[in-house]
Amino acid sequence: MQRIGVFVCHCGTNIAATVDVKAVAQALANEPGVVISQDYQYMCSESGQDLVKAAIKEHNLSGVVVCSCSPRMHENTFRKAASAAGLNPYLVEIANIREQCSWIHKDIASATEKAVVLGKAAVAKVHLNTPLTAGESPVVKRALVIGGGIAGIQTALDIAEAGFEVDIVEKEPTIGGKMAQIDKTFPTLDCAACILTPKMVEAAQNEKITIHSFSEISDVKGFVGNFTVTIKKKARFVDETKCTGCGLCTEKCPMKKVPNEFNMGLDNRTAVYIPFTQAVPKVATIDPNYCMMLKNGKCGICSKVCSVGAIDYKQTDRFVEQKYGAIVVATGFNPIKLDKYDEFAYSWCPDVVTSLELERLMNAAGPNGGTLLRPSDKKHPHTIVFVQCVGSRCDDEKGKPYCSKICCMYTAKHAMLIREKYPDTEVYVFYIDVRTPGKNFDEFYRRAVEQYGVHYIKGMVGKVSPKADGTIDVQASDLLSNEQLHIDADMVVLAAAIEPDKTARPLATMLTTQMDTNDFFTEAHPKLRPVESATAGIFLSGACQGPKDIPETVAQASAAAAKAIGLLCKNSITCNPCVAHSDELMCNGCSACEKVCPYGAITYQDKEFRMPDRTTAIRRVASVNPAVCQGCGACTVACPSGAMDLNGFSNSQIMSEVDAICK
């Protein structure tokens, strides 16, 4: 038999002025199971709480109902009080008779009547409350950062700084990402390599950081605090532990006609290669698509020249399994492919380039050693046209609906750098809008226009047509003067939209995190939890969550690191006990619950059961991981058999409240 205590709070006059609290206490005293019903001036005060505690002990209460303010205010207070008196804190229910009764009603009689009903509903519910214990789950004190661009590096450094082990998994042979390819950075125009490479080295030298370059994630299991990740270390045919990065193999390699992806295919590299001088780790990699030894067993020069014997043609993919407490996703972005943009002649005219290609063309480590020359004839370009929003803010299938955010600024940067270095070159920028919010951004853009005389034209380029004389006819409209323009350009630079890396989607599936329709990772809350994914223990860093420039990326990377550190600091996580659970005897194994779970908390297993007809059967049944479940209850309604129920808000509890209210 239940022994329920009811405690009605006056809240000074906040409640007592419109609700006859004594009448409420009296009415609830008559409810089945209620053994004591009291009212008090301020139930949340020290002495009020003592009243509750004393009653719990004196009457050996099995449940407590407090009729007071919103549970959002003091539910925790009274749970703690109950706990202190030896009653499970989840045997406390609050009837909200202030915010949802005394404060909104004026007539004492009807407000009192309503308060009684709310009290009865709480009593009915508490009858069915069960003691709940918040579970604890240990935290593995190691973090995984997926992606080794500036976001990943910054996150890893911050986590390592806090004293935790952290692994970076990078799919390319070197970390550094897109920033390593960039020449100068806006709005300060300092050299990207100069600020990035020291960080790369720092990451490599930090003893808390392990870099898995040329590696991918192949499997993720587990949950917050306790992920088990399988990392695929792709065969690079060079023993990382032996290679000194001397580069002799790359010099001697006879296969020299491999498109160099670091320079956006604008020049060539060898089959055995180190992507760039400051690569980290500075280890050679053999490209099996081009290496003659790997393709047909003829060559082997690199192996002969390597003084440390690092070349290993027999190397295969290796799989490493590691446990992590937190995972940070920093998979970054890529410019979209422009092969569908026939109007810009990108596919067939070498002098129509993307902005990232321009970065390489202008970079001292690029194909031309830093001198801006046209790719086609290596001549100095005198007229350059920049086209903004290529594929950004697009409604059609070719492009992306969103603003890529960084293009306005880097184009201003490019224009300014060109005008600075080659004053005889005319620069035209066609734009829809120039968007420059950000510290010193608009000033930067205005300098390009005012100080450097860049021609900004509001309008869209309609057609880019390469001409026989080597120049390019750019046909465009000037929306402000409302006229059609033809510009004879030497080069055209397209500001291609950026999109999440293609590896992000399968990764999101493995991590059971959510993505938006553009494949950007969805944050747990757009305003209040911007660097956490909705899946506990998975954090977001950099452009994988949305387009970002470098300062924003670094800021978010550190924020993600802070969140990860916050998690790793704990020895264990206290789980919310109000989570779903499945009654295996009723579960059909139909997977409906799993499909609506936003957290991937539900898994299935085949279990042997003794059936009512005395046979045994193997049935597929759901089980909920209480450490991952957040208690939304979506699964409980998706489940047709009612096998899935929610602690603290069970079907029977809610129905008992319904019954009490409608009675």
């Binding site: 409810e31 089945p32 059936m611 009512p612 019954d659 009490a660 409608c662 009675k663």
Partner: protein, 339 residues
């Protein structure tokens, strides 16, 4: 024997209905027949039988037994029994009429089910002889004569009218009330109709079905028969056969919490259901085979064993036409009978 011509039948109904509640079989929109409370202008159904049997009048699907009123911490028990009003069921076929006897043997034996008895005491059964049996009919298997349907009053249609014959005291009282509307009967015409019906009965596809292989003494033989597995394998475990059956009499007693108290009621139960006779230890019959076997063993073996050889089936054929997967007592009997 007294007679009324067909065109005056509704006048008769009006008369009866002016004195007590009258139920007659009428056609629904889907052409299936059901008993309805008579209202002036209703037409008697020409269908052989109703979808639901006439047992509903004495043993309704749900029936309130008691009430508990709850106020605060006190409980008050309320007896809600009241005397039932007199009523007449018209047009009951011979099979259903026999089923009342089978129900009586259960409900009226000690301890008497007073709810059932109350309804039984106040009901007058006016039966109707069959003239056009269906292919699913096999009442003769159980010794029922559909040309002499029994009940308190038997009615015999002859094509142009109906002859009435009182069989009981209650029947005679009923006849007395309507005697002024009746004329003298024509026994010769009636005999011709009955002769014709008897000839059809001999030609029925199930006319040769016999009960010789069944009865209490065959218990162990049939109980352990290997045929049950095959017979029950496609049974979906619904309650259709039991709910349309005129002799199935199992019920469950349940409490419904209205919020202000408890309403205790009984409702039909089906031995085909997986939770039938579920007790604290679990269920006594856990497989559909056992449940299926129970139903037919009850009708063909246990019932005659407990009730002086009377089988628990009247051959009305409802389960034959209504079982979702067309498994029925005839198939069971044919599978189990001595070859």
């Amino acid at each position: 024997m007294f007679r009324i011509s067909a065109e005056k039948l509704n006048d008769l109904f009006d008369r009866i209905a002016s004195k007590q509640t009258l139920y007659i079989p009428v056609d629904r929109e889907d052409k299936a027949a059901e008993y309805k409370k008579y209202e002036s202008g209703m037409t008697l159904s020409s269908a052989l039988n109703t979808v639901r049997s006439a047992k509903d009048f004495f043993f309704p699907q749900t029936e309130n037994l008691a009430e508990f009123r709850l106020s605060g911490k006190t409980i008050e028990v309320k007896d809600i029994r009241s005397e039932h009003e007199d009523f007449v069921i018209f047009g009951v076929r011979a099979c259903d009429a026999r089923s009342f006897g089978i129900l009586d043997s259960v409900f009226l034996s000690e301890p008497v089910d007073t709810f059932y008895k109350n309804r039984r005491d106040h009901g007058t059964i006016v039966t109707m002889a069959c003239t056009r049996p269906e292919e699913t009919c096999f009442c003769t298997t159980f010794g029922i004569n559909p040309t002499m349907p029994g009940g308190d009053v038997s009615v015999f249609p002859d094509g142009t009218g109906y002859s009435f014959l009182a069989n009981t005291e209650k029947g005679k009282e009923f006849m007395a009330e309507i005697s002024d509307m009746l004329e003298e009967g024509n026994p010769a015409q009636l005999a011709k109709v009955q002769e014709n019906t008897r000839n059809i009965l001999k030609r029925l596809p199930l006319a040769n079905l016999k009960t010789d292989s069944f009865g209490g003494e065959r218990l162990m033989k049939h109980f352990s028969s290997e045929k049950w597995a095959e017979l029950s394998e496609s049974c979906i475990g619904c309650g259709t056969c039991t709910f349309v059956c005129p002799t199935c009499q199992c019920y469950d007693i349940r409490d419904f919490d209205t919020g202000n108290g408890i309403k205790r009621f009984r409702c039909w139960d089906s031995c085909m259901y997986s939770d039938f006779t579920k007790m604290a230890h679990g269920n006594s019959r856990n497989s559909q085979l056992e449940r299926f076997r129970q139903r037919f063993m009850h009708k063909l073996v246990y019932h005659p064993s407990n009730h002086e050889g009377e089988f628990g089936c009247v051959g009305c054929g409802r389960c034959l036409s209504k079982c979702p997967i067309s498994m029925n007592i005839v198939k069971v009997m044919k599978a189990l009978e001595d070859k």
